[in-house]
Symmetry: D2
Subunit: 380 residues, 4 copies
């Protein structure tokens, strides 16, 4: 069945490194492909940690310098699960080395970096994809189907938020393993690139391009100890980021992300209101899609809570039986399976680097607007 | 508009006396009728309390002996909101005096009392009704419409429960004002007559007659101080009552009521599963009906949460605008308005005394089964 | 108990006229007061309709010219439930005639009108109140208590929206009875004054003043037939209005209102996130308050769904027993009862005209920002 | 890390065969153990299907006769994922061959078979476990912790149900692959052994032994075509099974299972009410535990919706970050990891064959009661 080897080199053994490794293992258990992934090497700065990851997940070797990984002849695909500040250089080097590339989101730390990454992969023609995994939650994919079928009609409103509460404590340090998301130099931005990027990617996919935005950001805690220097240093990231948007299709939107919303762990919610129907989804109950269809008979009309676990719903014919839900990590399994399918045919799996660049243009516009106090164009 | 006076004498100024008084005032604000209620007298053993009730709710006079109330010529209708042990005698006297009668549920303390009450009103031909108010919650009435239209198809299952937690403390006394529901002599039974009676009335209305039952009851706290005697006395009521049932239509059911379900204040829930559709409702969110229609397209099928506040839903054209819900007390307003409509036409408002007797036959069978350990017939 | 008469003249017999009339009747059934409301007159342009309202709700007389109503010696209080364009003139005339005034929200069609109304009542010293009824939903009042007790700690975020869907159809006309909310000349603005005003009033009450805003509005359907002229005319109102805000306490907010959110009838939701706790509420399930308290033990921490029907919760000792909820209209009953209490003491019931002016300053700033594309100050 | 090989032979490649295979792969990715599972052989009657399973899941060989599998020297553990009628013989043969045994639930088709299986494993002393996986859903394990810590106090009530709707169509055949659950000869019973067994296992684990039961069963569709014979044959299974129970601790319970509850796919729900606190859980939202703690301050008391995804909650330190939920299949991963831990220490993983026998005694009593119409003892 799986005749072609796909030799993978992974950069990063953190949270994302684990999720990707899971996907490489699980895809073939649930999905058919011509390709068989082979876990050739995992690369990380700490050799001991890399070896632990290799042992647990079955990578055959370890590297501590990503440049060596990229140069290896026995690797077809570089998967970038390292912090944001490494995406650009690794991707460009990998492209130049003719490797396929899968990159964690956001693509670059800003649209400039992303543009250069797009240029590199398009110049060399290597297969490429960005891990905006939420598109592959079955309920979200079902939302896409429903919208594409025209069930919603003309769209009036979109609203999304991504709420967390893990950085409220002011004695939480910044920087280093697990905390690089608070270090602006590494992360590029705060919740804008980390959380809003997810919201924007899904929004563009579901509702088309965003024309312009008006944003505001805030850094609630201005100084934090830096784990790498041991000093209290200014915090450069945005703790919260909110924006209004006009989509190209005429709909209006609110977007919000924060790590200061007490009570919410990872509450990514989205809603879209059309002339004839509406849809809501949230990550905390990720296997449900809420759907309102105005064409239902009036007296018995109501929001339908769709439990997305049936075989006629996206991806679910590959898993269990109706009523039994799957987890967060499955979205990565689906994305990797789709990537393999993309390799087999004419249509590469989305989102490509170019698709992901569109999100970075919006996040850049949001951050700019927060500084200028003006509406800013999110167009290319 | 309202040409005919309907002169009312109310027995009882407690919780139910207040709810009924509210209904007498509010019906004419929202519903049209030939009849205009006139609050002639309120009767209660404590004259001072009766006077307070009369002042607040606009009753013109007070009585302390219900026999005098029943004999008064200036009263057309006796409304019984007194404890259960008084229903039988007042109702029969009122019937013999030719008064219309509205009686709180349960009708009698047992089916024997209820039968005699039915005989009395049927012999004298006076209008009569029992306050099983939950039939008139708009969401429950909508459920009835849906079932009557055949949307559910053949019925397989019914389940209902009524969960409270207000008697868990063992220092709660029994007997006297507000606590007569714990005194078996006054109440007749515990949760069987108090809570299950509601569940059974709705069930028979929605799903037809119950053939037989297997029940179990428990009195968790065996002795409580009695407020009237000052002594610790055995508790005679059932604290919890559960039963299995077979309906005449072949469906199976579970019923449960308790005052020992920590966390639930008045959680009356019902669910009915048919071949083609199902319905759920609960009193804590009384303005919602959950409805599942298997004929919806598979991929987007789900339980619909119907917010019952629209003008095309039962009773709601009389109230506000879509999205604005009404309260518990409105169910009594609806019932009284329906009673007045019943007076104007050929079809008396339901449930009549005879309708309510059917419930008492079931509660008697449940209590009997709990003693015999056998299935018992709930038929007449 | 109720020795002092409070003679009321009501202007308007529409939706709000009915809700206010209900409050005048119900307040004395549930709340004690020195004052006894007397329904002296209802005023409306259509005499027949005014007479129907008077008959149903027990007003002793009718007027068709509000100027005559204001001049009557037998009236102590003018209640304004007429369309927005009449608020200003009636209120000022009533103030000059020495009448107490209760006015539907928004106070004026813009802050200029509102300022003049404030000046008038403050000059003459008459009691005054604006019907921002949502403050008196028990769950919302409980939220206020929780916040005032400091349970939330420092506030980071506020978000509110008010979503409806009743104007999506493009053949819905504008203007005239029931449709004046679509006529900019009468309403002043669209959803900004109608729906956002509610959100802003509650927000300021719960979270303090708003410093500045960035807004956007949209009129999705540009022309509608006008019922008064019979011609298709431009639509002057905003169909949707969204804004970002900075509160004076440093918290950030999103606000949104629309009548184009398919599936939502009157979904007013609010959420406030503090350092230690968070609160959510929505109008569709108005008797519930969602509350997250970070001081709960970690493993068993979660959003608490508080069913606000207990005697120790605001206003609920006056109604039924735990578990039994009350309706939308009760918020007006509470507000009127609080107004009467305000008359008896030193502290007038909130919100006064001056309190309500603060909301109009924000709505004006939102509309201005939507035109300028700039952040605008919402301060006085 | 994983020095000891654990050589596994699996019988069955259906739904359960897939779930178990997933567990064998995933356990070592998330949990530490001295043991390393090795997938030596999969056995099934259809060789081609067995080979497909072996290829997909990495089993080194296939067998078509389970007797050969049991006799193989290169296998340490037999995992039984075959239909119910095969459990007894395979387990006893495996025990006699000195193999460890993991067996799908229910253990036997009735308590007699189960007793013999218990005798076999206890006689030979082989490690044994039954796959009652729901104990290992993190939210359910958390419920167990809460109860064991005494947070609930004295228990008054337990209620559980398992509702499905997949057999409502009368043209669904019985027997053969995927449909053996409708064939009484193979399955032993219908929903009693299939669904109620799950409910009972969890109930006994959480709330202790069940003393006696009163049950009722129904077969709604009396005849179905049999896929193996091609003939319409009587249906021998119970389509629905309901029972009342008394636990040894004095609490009362209702249990219900059916495949005729339209709208429910696999809705296993459980609730337990104690003096001080209550707990609810359901399989459709398996990552949430609802918890009510009466010791919370009254005004802000409510059911807590605990999103069980934090590192201090059972098993969740092994997976992702707070807010990201895991799927149904993870419960099997946890159970296998626990089994391995049990091998390393003194305390075998639960439930053992003996633990599982307790459930079969209850299901036998339920079926007997449904025939006798009497309460039946569920004791040994």
């Amino acid at each position: 069945m799986a005749a072609k080897k796909l030799r993978i080199g992974l950069v990063g053994y953190g949270f994302m490194g684990r999720v990707h490794s899971n996907a490489f293992h699980q895809a073939s258990h649930y999905f058919d492909s011509e390709y068989e992934p082979e876990l050739v090497a995992v690369c990380g700065r700490d050799k001991a940690n890399a070896e632990v990851h290799a042992e647990r997940w079955g990578f055959s070797s370890v590297e501590t310098d990503w440049r060596k990984l990229v140069e290896r002849d026995d690797i077809d695909l570089i998967d970038i699960a390292a912090p944001n500040d490494m995406h650009h250089d690794i991707a460009i080097a990998a492209a130049e080395a003719g490797k396929m590339i899968m990159c964690e989101k956001p693509l670059g730390r800003n649209a400039q970096e992303s543009q250069e990454m797009v240029d590199a992969v398009e110049k060399t023609g290597v297969a490429n994809m960005v891990w905006y995994n939420y598109r592959r939650i079955p309920a979200v994919t079902l939302a896409k189907q429903i919208i594409d079928e025209g069930k919603l009609g003309k769209i009036f409103h979109y609203r999304a938020k991504f709420l967390q509460d893990w950085t409220i404590a002011d004695d939480l340090p910044q920087g280093g393993a697990g905390l690089w998301r608070l270090d602006a130099g590494v992360a590029g931005s705060g919740v804008t690139g980390d959380l809003l990027a997810h919201c924007i990617d899904t929004a563009i996919w579901l509702n088309g391009p965003i024309d312009n935005v008006s944003g505001v950001t805030e850094t609630f805690i201005k100084e934090r100890m830096h784990t790498l220097t041991g000093n209290v240093e200014p915090v450069g990231i945005d703790d919260a980021s909110l924006f209004l948007a006009r989509f190209h299709n005429g709909s209006l939107a609110t977007f919000e992300a924060t790590r200061y919303a007490r009570g919410h762990k990872a509450l990514y919610t989205l809603e879209i209101n059309g002339e004839n129907a509406s849809i809501m989804w949230d990550l905390h109950d990720l296997h449900r899609l809420e759907y309102f269809d105005h064409s239902d008979e009036g007296r018995v009309r109501g929001w339908r809570s769709i439990h997305v676990t049936d075989g006629d719903q996206p991806y679910m014919d590959k898993w269990w039986v109706p009523g039994l839900s799957i987890g967060y990590e499955s979205s990565f399994v689906h994305q990797f399976a789709d990537f393999l399918t993309g390799l087999e045919g004419d249509q590469p799996a989305m989102p490509t680097f170019r698709d992901a660049l569109a999100t970075d243009l919006v996040t850049d516009a949001v951050l700019k607007s927060a500084q200028t106090g003006q509406w800013e164009s999110a167009g290319a």
